[in-house]
Symmetry: C2
Subunit: 334 residues, 2 copies
């Protein structure tokens, strides 16, 4: 690959179910040239997020879907090769929504600088990136976390869940995670500091919640949807908050989504279930990043990236998000 | 019936589905005598509420279930016959949870006076009673109503829904009701002042919502649950509030409840779904009653009671709540 060749994954058709290899058109184009106020970047790390599955579907959502034939949307960390924008110069590292491609030309306003001297580049896609912001605002704002709360977190070893667990611990809460497999559960307890972790693959989730949250759940941070959401709803305390961050167990079959039959627990418990989109907090990212960097400095906030090397591996790597095969924030190294 | 005879409906067994006549043991007992600080009352009007169906089920809820063999729980307006409590004297009218019986002995602290000179006695079971308080706090507190909101109300001609419609209109909102049948729909628009009413019995609810709420729903006040909840979820605006007040369409088959498959609309729209129990607002009932009485004085708040006469008719009258046959607040006149 040379700087004059831009490799891309374009969405060729809309997925049904698990996104297969056949959805993608791999195309090599000449690397574009930046115009006024634009910047040419070389992609270094591409963030793979469950939300990408939603962006591939047709229809109304919180942002427009990726069009057929378009480069797949993705957030990435890149290096500036050429700049016609006053804020950037070659060699700078930047984050932005530059897509699944090895190079991109993008307006300078749509990029922000990241500093590899402060944290390794992949961290800007995890704890200091969208997953970190999602955990911070979802837990503290939407979940209205209070000291002493019992917090249940699904996908607790995942990019968002791991940060939720740790922030909740810094706030003096009891934290119970849910993860798939003994290795992930050990990580959640031993590394992230959760009080317990339920292995949903071989434990009864309802019984596990009753055991570890005998007084009920104050905050359920839901990344997965499905039956686990119902188990959580059945164990709420009065005034509980259910934060709908995602439903990764359902993304490949949204037409046949698992509907939470215990929603009337919201009435009995005077509880609420609330969704959010992290982009709404964009003007407060600085506040979150400052807090997160502080906790990282104090050793209270660990992060783990699952880095897969090789741009060509994008289609297979994306699927790892939905099979539970990734462990930590999934990142593609270009 | 004499003052020495207390007729009662006691719960003989737990219902499955629609509550049949066989659930009840009708018993005549000697009228009890009040002890210190107690009051003997003669029941005048008994409130029939959808919540009663929930009280008949076993298991955890916001209040304990009615025990097998116990007098059925009900809120009623009564006349004091004999008082050993300083606050009450014979001839006073009082409200309280005195049950489905013609007489009751109850502690004075559990009663509150009502004044038939201010409003007819049944109004103390509707607009000035639990349904009125439910509408007031559900809409203004849980629903966080704002001027200019578009409000969708199910069971809009019912005891709670009718008041929700009218409060929302006094607050400068657009109001769309849902009711069963042309007569109820006319009432919702012509008498309650709603901007439109969808007849769910012969109209497509989803299409009706799209027609009458083209910009989406800011507040959905849900009394019914079921598919209509899904239709509403699919039409939320950003930041919408779904108030879970009840699910009367589901109360006779809670083991097989209709689960809202469109709950992920809460994420897309950064919306929330929240339940509440009116009893939590007990110390603020005075505030609500004052506001409601004010609106009644200005002619902005109408109320309609569906009064069935005859204590013996309790079992059949209760079923009217679940067949949609009542029209207005359902009250049994003793």
């Amino acid at each position: 690959m040379s700087a004059s060749e831009n490799q891309q994954f374009r969405l060729a058709s809309r997925p049904k179910g698990m996104p297969g290899d056949e959805l993608w058109e791999q195309r090599n184009e000449p690397t574009p040239t930046p115009g006024d106020n634009e910047v040419l970047v070389a992609t270094r790390y591409i963030s793979l997020d469950p939300a990408m599955r939603g962006w591939m579907n047709e229809g109304k959502s919180y942002i427009p879907p990726v069009g057929i034939g378009e480069v797949m949307r993705a957030i990435a960390v890149s290096e500036v090769l050429e700049s016609k924008h006053a804020n950037f110069k070659p060699g700078d590292h930047v984050g932005g929504s530059t897509g699944v491609q090895t190079h991109a030309v993008i307006k300078g306003e749509e990029l922000h600088k990241v500093d590899p001297a402060i944290a390794p580049l992949p961290a800007y896609l995890s704890v200091l990136g969208m997953p970190g912001m999602t955990a911070y605002f979802g837990l503290l704002e939407v979940g209205a976390l209070a000291e002493g709360d019992t917090v249940l977190v699904s996908a607790a070893s995942g990019a968002v869940g791991a940060i939720v667990c740790q922030i909740a611990k810094t706030k003096g809460c009891k934290v119970v995670g849910l993860a798939g497999g003994a290795e992930k559960c050990s990580y959640v307890v031993d590394e992230l500091g959760a009080d317990a972790c339920i292995n949903y693959k071989n434990e009864n989730v309802f019984a596990g919640i009753q055991k570890h949250c005998p007084k009920g759940i104050n905050v359920y941070f839901d990344n997965v949807g499905g039956e686990i959401l119902d188990d959580a709803l059945a164990n709420l305390t009065q005034g509980a908050r259910v934060v709908i961050c995602g439903a990764v167990s359902q993304y490949n079959d949204m037409g046949n989504i698992y509907a939470p039959k215990n929603y009337m627990s919201l009435l009995i418990n005077r509880a609420r279930m609330e969704g959010f989109v992290v982009f709404d907090y964009q003007n407060r990212y600085g506040e979150a990043a400052t807090a997160m960097a502080g906790w990282m400095g104090e050793g209270k906030l660990k992060h783990k990236e699952d880095i897969v090397e090789g741009f060509d591996k994008f289609p297979a790597t994306l699927r790892k998000l939905f099979t539970g095969d990734n462990f930590g924030k999934l990142v593609l190294k270009v």
